[in-house]
Structures are given as structure tokens and as C-alpha cells.
């Protein structure tokens, strides 16, 4: 944002207060204009470095409930499908592993949303994307404003802002596999107060086919209530206080068990009878108090106190009493005694020996995440140089209570029957982290030059106690995370940019004693083009890891006893390029052709040879590539837009990737397939306040093996069709 634009923007801040709303700002680079329900934010929306924003219009157009699908159109972001609905997303950025999104920072409204982002970074919870108004993806040096993970970047999911007047919204949809969605929102506004309630329910019977026709779907609910009070608009110093309480729950009949290659070829959607009891349940309570004070039109402080409580229990078949390696069993079902266990797993044979009893392990977890954070944003001029300062401090505490118990079941006539083997508690631990994070960043703008320098400091105090072994570990460490960037506006339309920052991911308290935090130096350089018709970013990136870290989850293929542990992977080089563009071409009167393109090229190389117990790495040779990182990823969208409606088609391609570290050019190394899918979305504005929509994902019903973790081949979702109706009042 240029100084002149900033000034003009700030001039309307007071007007925005009159509207008492915080509608999202206009797209980056576009002139900010006043309007009903709009507030001008002084947050720097154009930091140097790669950044992407998925706005409300795009989110509503795609009608996705799955964060994977939303982010699949963003260059530099990798997603690894698992359940087909994005219930537990696997998102990585710029080479950072996607497993449970543990290497990136995910927030809702600037607040860490994960169950325990420091102690247990695996994101078994992410906010419902369907209730978001925009999603901000920050990569490059600007990522140091967010933490704890700064290697890949940060994703901030911005929920629906408080509207400026009484309003209501309803979205009802249904589709294949008995998909159903109800999304309702209502808000009431007074002169100095506001109240908004929101409810979302999603449900489906699932696309997987259990051999006994059991339900493989899920249902989830999300309800929130937000209240707001403000100071009088005439006050010189303006205050705003938001109080929010939210509750969510989910019951999903999800499994970690996939298929053998032979069974996958016959029916990719099949699910073995051994997984018939698999189910995840969770509930989450969220309390948040947000205060904003605007000291003047160029100085703002946002302070948020938050507390999240998340409890989940996921019971799923993990193996047999006599064969705990379910991954190996499904990978080689004919090998040795595996054929016996395979017959039982599929229900083709009954359990006939104690060793053939199935183990259903339940990972029972309780997480607490709470803290207070305050962020200062101000703009000042020192002579010809304009400053945009962003500084913040956060004191955060999170805790993970992990328990795991195992029950044994006999397969008898296709039914799982609880055996006499008593329940075994195999894990009972508590881990917690108290973290202080401070950051400061200044963007200096002088003529056509923008220079950004920032520093983040994280100080972590952690402890871990294993109640079974009575092992106790504690420690404290800190890390400085510098970052800086430079942008030169060659013309009003074309800029060159470059940046460097340190990447960091904390070591989990449960990690073995000599595991080091993940550390890297990340570089980027590229060009940015903006005019009325075209936006285009072409950016290259390099990440030099001094120590790549592998985090053990069952999802990543680790055993239950290894879960929570972390492994050192040593030096790794990641490099690649991103191309992100969008354009709208007028076709005829009131008819527009919108185009979008996102392409990511990624290469990775281990720089040392070692043998790892981390399932995703195994025996690593110098030059081996990281698993589950496609070299090529492309998303292209074209459509026709008219005031009465819009039709879009999106093609997405992802090249094949390795299942464990190895060489893509070595056909012997196990891998997952490349995938090309097409999606259609159509919207018809039947009234000014109502619209009908229809979506079809995976139009050609193409299914490939997209993951072999944790246990066997798993497909991407098949063709799914949804129709819905939306109304705004």
C-alpha cells in the first residue's frame, strides 16, 4: 500500500466506525473505498513476499467445506487428502510436510486454532471453512509475524465479521452420499452493540463402502455466539469489545485402514469389515474476548484473550495381537502369515487363534490452548519515509493429555465381537508448553522502494510426564527468528521482490531428548504484476533446512507407541517456483471471463544419509526426495460471469509423489499416483437476495491412490454433486 493510498484509506476510518462493521477489505493493491458495512483496516495488506488471499466471493462460489479443496488453488500450498472431506487436513507449504498440518501455523481470526499448537502441533481440529469470510495465506518473510511454525507459512482463516446492520443468512444444500448442509446466521445491531449467532451442520453417509453397508460418513455441528459493545463513535479514543463463545462437535466413522492394491483396483471405495467400528468423536469449546482500541486514525492495538478446550477420542483398528504392522500387512497381504490376518481383516475368515484378534486402539486426548495476545499496528512518517509497524506479544499455554487404550475383538461371521482380552492402557502422558512470543516488523516505504525488516522471538518452557514409565522431561529454550524483504516497484504495475527469513518449528515436549527444533533459512525472489485486468506473481523459493523434523502421528505411518515423538532428518534442501495469476476478461456486455492459475514446482533433496525409525523416511540416501511432495501442482479455472450467475470449471493436477523418502525416477520406490480432476460450479442469482447453486467435484470420477498412510491405499473422493440454496436478508 503506498503512503498516498494509506492516507486516503485512513481518512475514511471514521466513516467506517459509523457503520460499526468489519467487512473484509478490498483485494490487495486495489484502492480502498468506503461503503456500507465496510471498515478500512490499517493492517498491512501488501507485505513484501508471497501472499495469497481467498476472498469471500471465491469461497462462496466454490461452496467447499473441505479446506483441502479451497487451498488447492493456492501456489506453494500442498494438500494430502485423507478422508475425502478434509475432516483432518494435511496441509504443507513450500516443502514443509503436510502431515496433520503440523508444520504450518493455522489461525482463526489471528488466534492459534490448533488443539495445542506448541505441545502437539498436529491439527486434528481446523475451523469450518464454510463459515469463513476469507482465508489469508502468508509465505515468505512476512510469516515471521505468525508462529510458532515459520518454515512454511501461516494460514489465517477469518470468520464472518459482525455485519453493520440487522441481517440473516441461510444456506441449505444436499448432495450425493446423503450430503447435507445447513448454515444459518443472524445478527442484530444497535448503535453501540451487536449480537451475532451462527450455526452450521454438515453430514454425509460417506463415499466409502463398508462390506456390511455400514455408515462411513460423519456429522458435525458448529455453533457460535458473538456479542459486541463499543465506545461512542464520538470518542477520540475508540474501543470495541467482542465476546465470543463457540462450541463444535463431530462424530465421524473414519478409519486409518485402506486397501491392498488388488482390492483398490477392484473397488477403490471399499472398506474392510475390520474397520466397521472405527469412529472419531470430538467436541470443542471456544471462549474469546477481543478488544480493539484505536488511539488515533493511524494507531491501533488489538488484544485477544482466548481459551480453547478440545477433546477427542478416535477408536480404530490398528492391527492384530500377532501382527501390529498393519501397513506392512496391507502392503504385502500374501507374505507369510499376512494372508491369515488379511482374511480376518476383510471378514473372509473368522478369528481362530488369540493372535488373530483385532486390536482397536483408542487415542483419547484432551487439549487446552489458552493465552493472551496483543498486537500494535501503527503508521508514521519520518521525512520522506513512511513506516508501517506491526508489533505483538503473546503469552500462550497449551497442554495435551494423551491416553491410549486398546481393546481386542474377534471377527466372527463378519461381526467384531469384543474378546475376553482385557483393555490395555498403553499410553498415559501429559505434555505442556508455556510460550512467550514477541515480534516486531517495520515496513519502510520510500518512493518506489519498500524495505521490511522484522524479528520474532519465541521462548518456550516445556514439560512432559509419562505416567506409565514415570519419565519426566522439562526444558526451556528460545529462538530468534529474523526476516526481511525488499520490493522495488519498477513501474506502477510491475514489482520485483526478494526476502529471507528463518524457519522454525518447535520440538514437541514428548520428543526424544536429543531431538532439536526444526530450523531452516528460507529465501524467495520474484516478480509481481498488477493492473486492472491481470494479477500475476512469479516467485522462486529455496528452503535450506539445517534440521528437518519428522513428527510422528499415526496418520504419518508411525506406530501408536511412537506417536508424539519427533525425528531428526538433518540437512535438506527444498527449492521451487510458484506462479499465481488471475484475470477477468470482458467478453460482451455484462459478461466476463474470469481466469485463475496456480502452479507450483517443488524439488527436495536430503543432504545426508541415515537410517530413521520415522516411517516416512526409512533408509535415506543423499539426494533422496521427501515423501508426499508432488513436483508439479497445477490449478486452472475458467468461467463465465454475469450479474445473473456464474459458471466455472476448474482443472487440478498433482503429479505423483513418493510414499517414503526415495527417488521419483526409481520405479521401485513406492508412491502415490498423479491425479487430474475437473470440477464445475454454477450459481444462479434468482433474486437479489437469493441464489441457487450446484457443484460437481471430480467430474470424470477419476480415482487414484492418493495416500498409503497409515495403513494401505486410500482414494481421493469420487464424483460428488451438490445443489443448494442461499438467501440473505
Amino acid at each position: 500500500m503506498s503512503p498516498r493510498t494509506t492516507t486516503s484509506a485512513l481518512a475514511v476510518t471514521l466513516l467506517s466506525r459509523l457503520a460499526f462493521a468489519d467487512e473484509p477489505p478490498p483485494p490487495e493493491g486495489a484502492p480502498e473505498t468506503e461503503g456500507e458495512g465496510e471498515e478500512i483496516e490499517i493492517v498491512d495488506r501488501a507485505p513484501p513476499g508471497a501472499r495469497a488471499e481467498i476472498g469471500k466471493e471465491e469461497l462462496e462460489k466454490d461452496e467447499h467445506d473441505d479446506l483441502h479443496k479451497v487451498l488447492g488453488r493456492t501456489a506453494g500450498v500442498y494438500v494430502r487428502d485423507e478422508d475425502g472431506f478434509g475432516l483432518r487436513p494435511n496441509i504443507g507449504m513450500r516443502g514443509a510436510a503436510a502431515d496433520r498440518s503440523a508444520k504450518i501455523t493455522i489461525m482463526e481470526d489471528g488466534v492459534l486454532s490448533g488443539p495445542a499448537p506448541y505441545t502437539a502441533p498436529a491439527a486434528y481440529y481446523v475451523p469450518l471453512v464454510t463459515r469463513m469470510s476469507r482465508i489469508e495465506v502468508t509465505k515468505g518473510p512476512s510469516a515471521i509475524r505468525f508462529g510458532p511454525a515459520t518454515v512454511g507459512g501461516a494460514i489465517d482463516m477469518r470468520s464472518e465479521p459482525m455485519p453493520g446492520e440487522r441481517s440473516a443468512y441461510v444456506d441449505v444444500a444436499g448432495g450425493t452420499y446423503r450430503y447435507g448442509k445447513l448454515h444459518a446466521r443472524a445478527a442484530e445491531r444497535g448503535e453501540r452493540w451487536g449480537l451475532m449467532a451462527e450455526y452450521v451442520r454438515l453430514q454425509t453417509t460417506g463415499f466409502k463402502q463398508l462390506d456390511n453397508n455400514g455408515d462411513t460418513g460423519f456429522d458435525k455441528n458448529d455453533i457460535s455466539l458473538t456479542g459486541r459493545v463499543t465506545s461512542p463513535i464520538t470518542d477520540e479514543v475508540f474501543h470495541r469489545l467482542d465476546l465470543r463463545v463457540g462450541y463444535g462437535d463431530e462424530t465421524s466413522n473414519e478409519t486409518y485402514t485402506g486397501l491392498t492394491d488388488l482390492d483398490f483396483a477392484a473397488n477403490p471405495q471399499r472398506r474392510y469389515l475390520g474397520s466397521q467400528l472405527d469412529q472419531m468423536t470430538w467436541d470443542r469449546l471456544e471462549l474469546r474476548a477481543s478488544h480493539r482500541v484505536e488511539l488515533d486514525t493511524r494507531t491501533r492495538i488489538d488484544t485477544v484473550g482466548y481459551r480453547h478446550r478440545f477433546q477427542r477420542a478416535w477408536g480404530k483398528v490398528d492391527g492384530f495381537v500377532g501382527q501390529r504392522d498393519l501397513y506392512g500387512l496391507i502392503a504385502n497381504p500374501e507374505r507369510g502369515a499376512n494372508s491369515i490376518y488379511y482374511q480376518v481383516l476383510t471378514g473372509m475368515a473368522d478369528t481362530s487363534a488369540p493372535e488373530e484378534e483385532l486390536i482397536r486402539g483408542t487415542n483419547d486426548r484432551a487439549f487446552t490452548s489458552q493465552g493472551v495476545q496483543s498486537q500494535l499496528q501503527l503508521e508514521r512518517d519520518t521525512g520522506p519515509v513512511a513506516h508501517h509497524v506491526d508489533a505483538g506479544v503473546r503469552i500462550h499455554f497449551d497442554r495435551a493429555d494423551r491416553a491410549r487404550y486398546e481393546d481386542a475383538y474377534a471377527m466372527i461371521g463378519g461381526q467384531l465381537v469384543r474378546s475376553e482380552r482385557p483393555r490395555a492402557t498403553v499410553l498415559d502422558s501429559r505434555a505442556e508448553t508455556l510460550a512467550l512470543a514477541v515480534h516486531a516488523q517495520d515496513k519502510l516505504v520510500w518512493k518506489r522502494l519498500e524495505l521490511t525488516a522484522g524479528l520474532r522471538y519465541e521462548l518456550l518452557d516445556f514439560r512432559f510426564f509419562d505416567r506409565l514409565t514415570e519419565n519426566y522431561v522439562e526444558g526451556t529454550y528460545g529462538v530468534l527468528i529474523p526476516g526481511g524483504g525488499l520490493a522495488v516497484r519498477l513501474t506502477d504495475e510491475l514489482s520485483l521482490l526478494a526476502g529471507v527469513h528463518r524457519g522454525f518449528t518447535p520440538a514437541a515436549p514428548s520428543a526424544v531428548a536429543d531431538t532439536r527444533p526444526e530450523s531452516s533459512v528460507n529465501y524467495e525472489a520474484g516478480a509481481r504484476f498488477r493492473n486492472e485486468r491481470l494479477t500475476l506473481d512469479a516467485i522462486g523459493f529455496v528452503s535450506n533446512y539445517s534440521n528437518l523434523k519428522g513428527s510422528c502421528t499415526l496418520a504419518s505411518g508411525c506406530t501408536e507407541a511412537m506417536e508424539g515423538e519427533q525425528y531428526d532428518g538433518g540437512r535438506v534442501h527444498v527449492f521451487g517456483g510458484e506462479l499465481q495469476g488471475a484475470s477477468e476478461i470482458p467478453l460482451a456486455k455484462r459478461l466476463v471471463l474470469p481466469l485463475q492459475l496456480a502452479y507450483t514446482f517443488t524439488r527436495t533433496e536430503f543432504q545426508s544419509a541415515f537410517a530413521s525409525d520415522f516411517a516416512g523416511w526409512g533408509d535415506v540416501a543423499v539426494g533422496d526426495e521427501l515423501p508426499y511432495l508432488p513436483r508439479h501442482q497445477l490449478s486452472a479455472t475458467a468461467g463465465v460471469k454475469h450479474p445473473r450467475g456464474q459458471l466455472d470449471v476448474t482443472a487440478q493436477y498433482r503429479s505423483g509423489a513418493l510414499d517414503i523418502a526415495g527417488r521419483l525416477d526409481d520405479p521401485e520406490d513406492p508412491r502415490v499416483g498423479s491425479l487430474l480432476t475437473f470440477a464445475l460450479t454454477a450459481h444462479a442469482n434468482i433474486r437479489e437476495w437469493a441464489e441457487l447453486y450446484a457443484t460437481c467435484s471430480n467430474l470424470l470420477d477419476e480415482q487414484v491412490v492418493i495416500s498409503r498412510r497409515p495403513y494401505g491405499a486410500r482414494p481421493n473422493p469420487p464424483r460428488m454433486v451438490t445443489v443448494g440454496y442461499k438467501a440473505r436478508f
Binding site: 500377532g322 507369510g336 487363534a353 521462548l459 526451556t476 506406530t559
Partner: protein, 371 residues
């Protein structure tokens, strides 16, 4: 809260790189690993495979004779056939305690074809018997091997163990049918035992050249004493650890090895004898280098003595147990528990200091044991 630590010092500390440690790090000791492997192959492993081949062939012969006798007289005594089974299973129990190499390849396929315990599907065996379905090579491993032969030679009764009796079970001439079934399996076992012996003769020449990796194969195989002997044969059967019956401190018959023939004690004695031979290098034919000498070569003589003492203590307790393991589990529970405890002393050291000192990987399935 310990936020008082100097910030810069903490930052510097977290930045300091540390080397990656690997279990295959080269060792600078002078212990002669090829000599150890050569000695064990020549004087322990190959002779054990030969014994199995001889005894399983004899079992097939004895079963053939028994089946012929049954054809003449349905009351013919199975004593000779059972004695041949005892010889064969004892021979295998010696070998089973140190399975690696050819027997362990391709998911233990040869091992399981000879002896598949703990996998046995008695009902399916009954169905095969009833249907005279004796194409053994096509059968799953829990319907073949010495495990199934034991069931056929020592049937608990004339009844089938199927929830629903096989169609022609009442009319079946069970002694003759079971014998013919056992004979077919025994012939398959003998073929596989012969194949294993042949494979071992070749493998024995390659083993010494494997060096440290070969030593690790032997140490991996010794973990049989932990997972199979301590945990399963002793712990689960006696209710010392969680078992399929949900019992604590009392017998769980379903978990008892060789429960039909009640030769569990003999099996345990054979297992421990092999463990001792492998650990000390003292076999019936020669004394040579092995793990105790390796430990002494790295100045861990005390550990070697301690571990041998633990093995000897276990062997002594097994010798004092009744020959009937079912009887021991019922009337001598304390002695069985003491045997378990004695062996645990050895296995605890095996999976901790022993592996660390000799820079040996431990198998994945025991690496996370909470013992």
C-alpha cells in the same frame, strides 16, 4: 517459570547443530565378527537345521506306518508316531529359538510352513480332515505345519472344534482320516525342512561376510526369548501379562504352546538351550566366539557374565518345572512366574545396555516394549 535465562544464550544454544547418530555407526573394536558368525553357522545353526530335516522326515515315515496300521486295526497305538512327533517338535524348538536367514525370508514363510504357532485354525483343520482336502501346499499356514500335526495326533476328543460340525463329521472314520491328514502335512513339513537345510548350507557360507550386520541378525533372532518365550509362552500362558482369557495369575490354556501334546516345558528347555549356545558360542560340538566374547572385547565382561548367569538361572528353573507344562501352570504357578522373572532379567539387558554397547539395532516390534 524459567523465563529468566539469558535470551541470547538460549538462542545460541538452540542454534547449535548436533550430529545425526545412526545405529550402523562403525565400531573401532577388534572383535572378529566373521569368526563368530562362521562358528555359529557351522556348529549351531546348520546342525540344528539338519536335525530338523532328519526328525521331520522320520515323523513322516512314522505317521505313514501308523496310518497303515490304522488301516488294519483302527485301535492301533499312536505311541510311535507321537514319539516321532516329539522328536521333530523338539528339534524344531531348538531351531525356532534362533530364526533368521532362510527361515525368516519372505515373511518367515519357511518357518511358518514347518511350525506356525501361535497360528492354528482347528476348525479349518477339521474341515480339511472331513473333506480329505490334503493339498497342503495350497493351505494357509494355520492349517498346516507341526502345529496342525500336533492337533491331529492329540485331538482333545472325537468332536470337531467347529461351532457347526462339518457336514460328514459324524460318519467320519476320525482316527484314520486324521492320520492321513497328519501324514500329508508331515510330508509337506519334511519337504520344507529339507529345503531349509539346503538353503542354510548355502547361507552359512555367506553369513561370515556379513560382519556386523550378520551379528545384528543373530541378535535380532535372540529376541525370540523376549517376545515368544518370556511374553507369550510364559507370560500370557500363566496370566502374568495380558492374555486372551483376561486372566491374571492363572493359566490361560488357549495361550499355551503345544497344549494338545502338553510338551510346553520341553519346548522352553530347548529354546533356552539354543539361546545359551548362541550367546556363549558353546555348542554341543565346539566352543567358539560369540556375544559374551564380543562384550568382553569392548570391556563389558561383567555384563557378559551377568547375562549368562540370567540364562543359566532360567535354565535351572525350567529344569525344575514338571515335564507337563499344563500341570506346571496349574500347580506350580510360582515357579513359572519365577522362571519368567529370571528370563526378564536377561531380556531387559538384551534390549537396553547390550544393544547399546554392541551398537546393535533391536527389532521394531520390541523397540517400544514398556518393560
Amino acid at each position: 517459570m524459567r523465563f529468566v535465562a539469558p535470551l541470547l544464550a538460549l538462542t545460541a544454544a538452540c542454534d547449535s547443530p548436533a550430529p545425526i547418530t545412526g545405529k550402523d555407526a562403525p565400531s573401532d573394536d577388534v572383535f572378529d565378527r566373521p569368526a563368530m558368525l562362521g562358528h555359529l553357522a557351522t556348529n549351531l545353526l546348520v546342525p540344528m537345521q539338519h536335525d530338523v530335516a532328519v526328525k521331520t522326515a522320520a515323523l513322516a515315515t512314522a505317521l505313514g506306518a501308523h496310518c497303515d496300521a490304522l488301516d488294519l486295526d483302527v485301535t492301533a497305538s499312536p505311541v510311535a508316531a507321537r514319539a516321532a512327533f516329539a522328536d521333530a517338535i523338539d528339534a524344531w524348538q531348538s531351531a525356532d529359538a534362533l530364526v533368521f536367514g532362510p527361515a525368516a525370508m519372505d515373511g518367515n514363510v519357511l518357518r511358518d510352513r514347518i511350525y506356525s504357532w501361535p497360528l492354528l485354525a482347528p476348525c479349518n483343520v477339521d474341515k480339511d480332515t472331513a473333506a480329505s482336502s490334503f493339498a497342503i501346499a495350497d493351505k494357509p499356514i494355520n492349517q498346516r505345519s507341526l502345529t496342525a500335526i500336533e492337533y491331529l495326533l492329540y485331538p482333545p476328543s472325537t468332536a470337531s472344534l467347529c461351532p457347526i460340525e462339518p457336514a460328514n463329521w459324524p460318519q467320519l472314520d476320525k482316527p484314520r482320516a486324521r492320520c492321513r491328514h497328519a501324514l500329508a502335512i508331515a510330508q509337506d513339513v519334511a519337504q520344507n525342512a529339507a529345503a531349509l537345510e539346503t538353503a542354510w548350507q548355502a547361507y552359512a557360507t555367506e553369513l561370515p561376510a556379513m560382519g556386523h550386520a550378520g551379528v545384528n541378525l543373530v541378535s535380532d533372532a535372540m529376541f525370540y526369548s523376549d517376545t515368544m518365550v518370556k511374553d507369550m509362552k510364559l507370560g500370557e500362558a500363566a496370566g502374568i501379562v495380558v492374555n486372551a482369557c483376561g486372566t491374571a495369575g492363572e493359566i490361560c490354556e488357549r495361550e499355551v504352546e503345544l497344549r494338545f501334546s502338553d510338551r510346553g516345558t520341553f519346548a522352553l528347555r530347548r529354546n533356552l538351550a539354543t539361546l545359551r549356545a548362541a550367546f556363549t558360542g558353546t555348542t554341543t560340538s565346539a566352543d567358539g566366539p560369540s556375544f559374551d566374547d564380543f562384550l568382553r572385547a569392548v570391556d563389558q565382561g561383567a555384563m557378559a557374565d551377568r547375562m549368562v548367569a540370567h540364562i543359566d538361572a532360567t535354565i535351572a528353573k525350567l529344569a525344575a518345572l514338571p515335564d507337563s507344562y499344563l500341570g506346571a501352570l496349574t500347580t506350580k504357578y510360582a515357579e513359572v512366574a519365577a522362571t519368567h522373572a529370571a528370563l526378564r532379567e536377561f531380556t531387559t539387558e538384551l534390549k537396553s545396555q547390550f544393544s547399546a554397547v554392541l551398537v546393535l539395532e533391536i527389532p521394531d516390534d520390541v523397540a517400544t516394549d514398556n518393560d
